[in-house]
Symmetry: C2
Subunit: 185 residues, 2 copies
């Protein structure tokens, strides 16, 4: 039960970070969003906001890894589609108003530990994607995996700024066409 | 002279936004960074911080457009290199601690007007890059231009999180290899 409150708070922090960035994400808003009791702040996060944000960065990282774990044995095209699909769904559900919690923390933190955690998430995604694409027979899997992550993150930002999925869809279609060419060559 | 103060404050805001995000960028820090007198805030920016940030977003947008303007008649490979080079230089000069002011505003603002200005910048970059790449003979110039912007923006975030230009360089090399293949096909 107590674990449930902690997890709800972390999920709430992920959502708020993705929607409105690091500084605008406060314990007060997390409590309001999740209905968690006020006392749960220092019970679950004695290290304060940085500890909650660190847990949110890790949770966001794990979420994508869990999806990738389910893609073992799939083709590079399918893996690329699924990674893009994670972010497309986020844009669609939010009317292009939300994005990536890990990116939001990266561009707004001055805390070395938080930045290092964000770096670990991106590295873990790259490692996992590279392995999946490589196993599926994609030449140059590591360069493509890094580009896929970077382009997806950037495309989400363009879609939010333009309040339209059009730039995201253009990037997704470009990347998928590259995978098709590379795997059928 | 008064115009000089205003421009210095805008340039200072661009730097701070790029380094530490929207909420951490304050008039106090802009004054400290630029040495502008306190009275210049409401003289030059009677609309407050949002007005300064809007001017900074526009200035950051114009800066890249000015560089692109100098590339008329160049090959798609050279145009791509130059756009990537803008961001590579930023990472290099800052030890991978800074990024894009327009992205920083996009992911942290809840102000529709600021978001619209960020969207205009990304659209202007895409339009200009598409025209340059198309004139240089790149097939599918618009899809590539959108991907180039998205991937560059995302690659800067990865480089900051990982405190290394390695992910940026991997993305840059991938994109350049795609341009070479597409133009020599």
């Amino acid at each position: 039960m107590a674990e449930g409150v902690r997890d709800r708070m972390i999920a709430g922090a992920v959502r708020l970070l993705a929607q409105q960035g690091l500084q605008a994400t406060s314990f007060a808003e997390v409590l309001q969003l999740t209905g968690a009791p006020r006392g749960s702040i220092y019970h679950h996060f004695p290290g304060g906001k940085d500890q909650l944000v660190a847990a949110a960065v890790e949770a966001a990282g794990r979420h994508a890894l869990t999806v990738l774990d389910g893609l073992a044995g799939e083709s590079p095209e399918r893996v690329t589609e699924a990674f893009l699909g994670l972010w497309r769904l986020l844009l669609e559900r939010s009317g292009n108003t939300t994005g990536c919690a890990v990116l939001a923390v990266t561009v707004a933190t001055r805390d070395d530990d938080l930045l290092a955690r964000a770096g670990e998430v991106f590295r873990a995604w790259r490692t996992r994607l590279t392995a999946l694409l490589d196993e599926g027979g994609l030449p140059g899997a590591e360069a493509f995996a890094t580009t896929l992550i970077a382009a997806t993150e950037g495309a989400v930002v363009l879609a939010r700024a333009e309040r339209s999925t059009a730039p995201f869809d253009a990037v997704a279609e470009y990347l998928l066409s590259q995978v098709r060419v590379a795997t059928h060559a």
